[in-house]
């Protein structure tokens, strides 16, 4: 596990304090002495990989596939009440399915798997913005993004900046941010989409979600985990944000060994996770959130991360 010692001590002392507090403080603070649970499942950069990778001796031969992913998701849903299934963009491009059908089977498959939300990646513009707007008619989940202005495009009114999901007693706020398109995507494909500074947009949107008493705030991001040059990334967003608890990342196709934890602007922890590409992996994060009666608007969380053994 990639958590340094200092962080571990800090986390342990918080956990210790919380435990001790729960034993000495009146029950009002730790009412019902219970935790609320939510399971976050996520993918990124699935890139039209509808079938498992072909058995050709290559590195990922036999891995992935939407029918296979669906089975794993169903098993998890059968065992857990509160589940959110999210995607961080680049649903399109990468196999002949996309060249032939321009994303229709990809979106239909995600709808059938009951995705709760997705954000947009740069490759989702590959057959033009109008095509994406057409294909999401097959979606029964929202496209969430807060830093693209789509006013003068076919995507106008076909996306939302955030959504609040009620899962049991928990309110989960989900927002999304996209990468700068200039230089990355041909202009004739993204047309009049206006990219806005993602950190500012994300912070404003997350603040709104916190004021709406969300217990957990998740940002779907297609910014990329980090860069050697000074380019906005999940790492920078995690350090610069105030209210985001979890960033589901993409674009850089990184297989994280474990989620990364950063200290945010409120002194709390913001977690980042990413699961490679091509639907080779499904990310799973099981949150246990301490239930407290008094909801604080500006609550910070410290996290203790452990590896879940697969059932």
């Amino acid at each position: 596990m990639r958590i340094d010692r200092r962080k571990f001590i800090r986390q342990s002392s918080w956990a210790g304090a919380a435990l001790f507090a729960s034993s000495v403080l009146p029950n009002t603070v730790f009412a019902e002495n219970a935790f609320d649970h939510i399971t976050i499942l996520h993918t990124n950069d699935t890139h039209s990989q509808l079938e498992p990778f072909p058995m050709d001796g290559s590195r990922y031969a036999g891995l992935g596939g939407v029918a296979e992913r669906a089975t794993v998701i169903q098993q998890i849903r059968a065992e857990n009440t509160n589940v959110l299934l999210l995607d961080a963009g680049d649903i399109f491009q990468g196999t002949p399915y996309f060249n032939l059908y321009k994303g229709e089977p990809e979106i239909k498959a995600m709808s059938m798997m009951q995705y709760d939300a997705a954000t947009m990646g740069n490759h989702d513009f590959d057959a033009g913005i109008e095509n994406f707007a057409t294909q999401i008619k097959h979606a029964n989940f929202p496209i969430i993004i807060c830093n693209y202005n789509f006013s003068n495009t076919a995507m106008d009114n076909k996306f939302i900046p955030y959504k609040i999901f009620q899962k049991g007693k928990l309110k989960i706020g989900v927002l999304g941010v996209g990468i700068e398109l200039k230089g990355l995507v041909a202009e004739n494909l993204y047309e009049k989409t206006v990219y806005q500074e993602p950190i500012e947009c994300a912070n404003k949107t997350a603040e709104l979600l916190r004021k709406n008493n969300c217990d957990l705030i998740i940002c779907l991001s297609h910014l990329g985990d980090k860069y050697s040059e000074n380019k906005v990334s999940d790492e920078i967003l995690a350090k610069e944000c105030f209210d985001i608890d979890l960033i589901i990342g993409g674009h850089t196709h990184k297989f994280f060994d474990s989620p990364k934890v950063y200290r945010n602007q409120r002194g709390g922890d913001t977690v980042v996770n990413q699961v490679g590409w091509g639907g080779i992996e499904l990310g799973r994060l099981d949150y246990s959130l301490a239930r407290s009666e008094k909801k604080k608007v500006f609550k910070t969380q410290t996290v203790v991360i452990g590896k879940k053994t697969r059932e």
Partner: protein
Amino acid sequence: MLKKFITYFLPLYALMVVAVCNAQTTTIEFNNYRIENVSKPDSGLLKLLMPYTDSVHKSMNTVIGFSINGLIKKQPESNLGNFMADCMKLMAEKKFEQKVDIAFINYGGIRSYIPKGEISVGKIYELMPFDNLIVLQKLSGKILQQFLDKMAGRDGWPVSGLTMSIKNKKAIYVLIDHKPLDENATYMVANSDYIANGGDDCEMLRGIPKINMGYLYRDALIEYIVSLSKQGKTIDAKTDNRIVYAN
């Protein structure tokens, strides 16, 4: 005793109240699941995919052309490389509707070969599995020379519209449209977006404005072969000493 309580325990108690109200410890268990060895893929999704899968496989097997030779990649020059670079130059001129002086193929991006005989769409996907786009950049003769030196240092990449020799890992005797490279002239150059963005150590190209129409090089290859077949032509690619070693 009371004093001791106030000194030691009260601040601690206060700290804990603050901690509990404003911070909370959240435990997260994680597991990034590999999707492998799934014994029962979901039947609903298999049913949804079936018609798409059938037609994708059918279209991959579609024969679009015929090659009279087996084409393979080789350095400094090869029949496969020349075929691919010529296709890039021609199709770029057609798509961007302007003259293109030179086209390059990133040698490492060629992932297969073209067998003698019938060519299927699937074969082109094997040859070019990456979703590289054709982009144009207007390069000064000076930058072009730097780029040529880089590819000469790598033992030559497929090119169209130019001839040169490689000596001591540098490009010499460079001729473009039969004229020597002019460091003060500008040239319209087609490359993959990967290379034009500075990939494969081609730093000198990064930052130079790109003309991009979202045109996949693989699509260009397929369209080119289809158009040859429509004209009743077969593929007859040869080497013609575009790049040689100078002794």
